[in-house]
Symmetry: C2
Subunit: 194 residues, 2 copies
């Protein structure tokens, strides 16, 4: 009943997400968002609520995709768990060198600790990513590729920290070679001896 939407909500959210991703929360104005989506302010507000709501929904979408990407790599049908882990880290290393960086990190830096809603999303995403990495390490241990004496939780969380740290360094201008070296340094203890 009534007039139907003339736009796809997900497409609009994509555009919103991209704007925040490029410029950050505060630096993105409503006019930027109307331009990016091609919608009027009224439509935006009717569909998504306030600017803050738009950000939260965009961030949520982004984080869901991020976690889904981790799953798709770490649960891929081919290769050993260790190989999948390596592929995943390689992929992230490549991706984080794009000028956009990672919206999750940017959101955490700009609004973390100050905004409960944003904080909840970030915290949940970190947890999910961490869990997946820990599970991958554990699986690789079962497959005998990673020494059993390593604490899987410790190794998995450390991998997450290295990945997030590489992202931060990439945004600071650290070159691809150094990033690759760091990735190797993080994976080396897993492959090592025995």
């Amino acid at each position: 009943m009534g007039r139907p939407r003339t736009f796809s909500e997900t497409e609009a959210l994509d555009a919103i997400c991209a704007s925040f991703w490029d410029q950050g929360y505060c630096a993105t104005s409503l006019d930027d968002l109307t331009e990016a989506t091609g919608l009027g302010k009224g439509s935006l507000y009717a569909a998504f609520g306030s600017k803050h709501d738009m950000f939260v929904q965009g961030l949520r979408l982004y984080c869901e995709r991020m976690v889904a990407m981790a799953t798709s790599f770490l649960h891929a049908p081919s290769g050993s768990a260790l190989q999948r882990l390596e592929k995943y880290v390689q992929h992230l290393t490549r991706e984080m060198q794009s000028p956009r960086g990672c919206l999750l990190s940017k959101a955490a830096a700009e609004l973390g600790r100050q905004d409960d809603e944003v904080n909840a999303i970030i915290s949940k995403t970190f947890e999910e990513l961490g869990d997946q990495l820990v599970a991958a390490v554990r699986q690789a241990q079962r497959e005998g590729d990673v020494p059993a004496r390593l604490d899987a939780r410790r190794s998995g969380l450390m991998l997450l920290a290295v990945i997030r740290g590489m992202e931060a360094m990439a945004r600071g201008g650290t070159n691809g070679r150094s990033l690759g070296m760091i990735a190797q340094g993080a994976l080396a203890p897993l492959r090592a001896d025995t």
Copy 2:
């Protein structure tokens, strides 16, 4: 000649830096800065230039202190190089759990890649911190506490990545225990076997 300053430039810059640190660049208004410093807009502009200039100068101050802190830990007169490294990591782990987080990370997230001036500061700081860590690992190798087969550069850069990653995770709500675990995971390969 002429009327002298009624305020200390460094003190004012400290207050400016603290404001940006708490709220980020964009979210800090000039009124926030006048309130934080107790100065009028005219005085601020006369002393520091534009809002952007104030940020750059505040960030520069912050980064210099950050590097100086690294030096003071890593070149402390007592203990072995490895012990100093451990103390330094411990200290950072504690510090990053404060609600403020780290201005360097925040600046990198909010303005990195978009702002040449800011980028230069960030990039230089990362480089200096990395160099210090690499040198510390190397020294620990010379002292026989870290296996010589490890690539010092790789290990040092990885330490930097872990530290930056822990900071990002701390801002996302990761608890102190997990952070400690990560720190241990990063240091373990250094202490290890032989």
